[in-house]
């Protein structure tokens, strides 16, 4: 556990110093909202359409972070330095997933209000709690799959290609569940709580892949 915190702290410090990931994700999201405005030719959107636009934007923004997650480890010897230490290797998975989760949360703190201002018709106020719960589950899925995919892709040539190529299909079920769970929340006279069915699917997805990632991650570090 202390190893996880050590690595996580280092990642936060590194992001603070280099500002490579979170600002890029935020700018990308806002630019995407503008593109959706023109692409859809709509001043405001609501309901399932709004949920889809928000989910897809966050997903693609997340892929930017996924691509960068292990680059410093690979290029600056972070993997070797970590592997030389007498610590549990799975800690790296947990720490990286936690870092990605934190980056996504920071992204959403800016991107969701921006979405509310730029595109969303109904007010963001009433469904906010439900939306936070759904996005937290979605971020967990993105963090787990993103970390796994990033660890695979970073060792390949053309890693910027391999990451999204594997990540997108793997994330489709999570995307479906997120968009469907958020749809009723963003409707004009929306309900305040997300549909339980989709929250359950999302939670199941998180659970299965978190356990699976934990089981296979060590094999990505061996040499």
């Amino acid at each position: 556990m202390s190893t996880v915190l050590t690595v996580l702290r280092k990642d936060m410090l590194l992001e603070l110093r280099s500002l490579e990931t979170v600002p890029a994700m935020v700018l990308f999201s806002i630019a995407t909202f503008v593109i959706f405005h023109f692409g859809l030719n709509r001043a405001t959107i609501d309901g399932q359409l709004a949920a889809g636009v928000l989910t897809v934007t966050l997903l693609f923004a997340a892929l930017l972070g996924v691509n960068r997650l292990f680059v410093a480890e690979r290029e600056q010897g972070g993997f070797d330095a970590f592997l030389l230490a007498p610590v549990d290797r799975s800690a790296l998975l947990v720490a990286k997933a936690a870092a990605l989760f934190a980056f996504l949360a920071m992204l959403e703190v800016v991107a969701v209000p921006a979405f509310g201002v730029l595109l969303l018709g109904p007010s963001l106020g009433p469904p906010l709690l439900g939306l936070i719960a759904v996005l937290a589950l979605a971020d967990l899925a993105l963090a787990v799959i993103g970390t796994l995919v990033s660890a695979i892709a970073v060792q390949s040539r053309a890693r910027d290609l391999i990451g999204p190529l594997i990540g997108l299909p793997l994330l489709i079920p999570a995307l479906i569940a997120t968009a469907r769970a958020a749809g009723p929340l963003l409707a004009v006279h929306g309900s305040g709580s997300p549909p339980g069915k989709w929250v359950a699917v999302l939670a199941l997805y998180d659970l299965v892949f978190a356990l699976l990632a934990y089981a296979v991650f060590d094999f990505l570090l061996e040499d």
Partner: protein, 228 residues
């Protein structure tokens, strides 16, 4: 020599796909001794160091470090070996102090040790600058600190004095020199310098041990052949 060896290799082989990096290498290093590993670029020196550092698994043969067979017991020796690799293994956007404190926490070493090391290599003044802003010699001094943070009893040194001027070389000497008492595996482009501080020598040529034995018994002609 009844003392158990600090490093023992028997018929060690490692390949990368079709290319063989090490073939049937055998060596015994008693505790506290220094081995010079000599050979051209690509002769297998770095591969050997990475295997001893538990970063690469051997494909055939037996490897034991501090009596623990690798790769099975790699976990047991990780905290007792120090690798000074070709790359500094430091994050370029963090400062030297932040890098060392991070690694110290991974190794369960206190902050005072970091400060003592920074002082020992004369880097206190610039310890808060990001690594990317430092000269290569300074980075190498930090890399030495990183390698010896946890006071390892086996030191794996890949070109330890690369980029260091003589003054800096003297600063790091107490950390990685013979005085540490550690068993040392040393590679160098400069065979004479390496031989001067070694007890044993292992000459690698295309992954094979061209010779292995005490420095005193080394035939200079064969050394010349190695670099021919």
């Amino acid at each position: 020599m009844d003392q158990p060896p600090a490093i023992e290799l028997r018929g060690l082989s490692r390949h990368f796909g079709e290319r063989t990096a090490l073939r049937q290498v055998s060596l015994r290093v008693p505790p506290g001794a220094t081995v010079a590993v000599l050979g051209h670029n690509g002769a297998g020196k770095s591969t050997l160091l990475r295997i001893l550092a538990t970063l690469l698994r051997p494909h055939a043969g037996e490897v034991a470090v501090l009596g623990e067979p690798l790769p099975r017991r790699a976990f047991a020796i990780r905290g007792r070996i120090g690798l000074l690799a070709h790359e500094p293994l430091l994050y370029r956007d963090l400062s030297g102090r932040e890098n060392l404190r991070y690694q110290a926490r991974l190794h369960g070493v206190g902050r005072q040790r970091v400060e003592r090391l920074l002082a020992a290599v004369g880097m206190e003044a610039r310890a808060d600058e990001p690594v990317r802003a430092l000269s290569r010699g300074m980075v190498q001094r930090l890399a030495v600190c990183r390698a010896v943070l946890h006071e390892p009893s086996v030191l794996l040194l890949d070109e330890p004095r690369a980029n260091l001027d003589p003054a800096a070389g003297e600063l790091v000497e107490p950390l990685i020199g013979r005085a540490t008492g550690a068993t040392r595996v040393l590679t160098s482009h400069d065979p004479e310098a390496a031989l001067a501080e070694a007890d044993l020598v292992l000459g690698l040529r295309q992954g094979r041990a061209a010779f292995a034995g005490p420095v005193a018994e080394l035939d200079r002609r064969r050394l010349a052949e190695l670099y021919a």
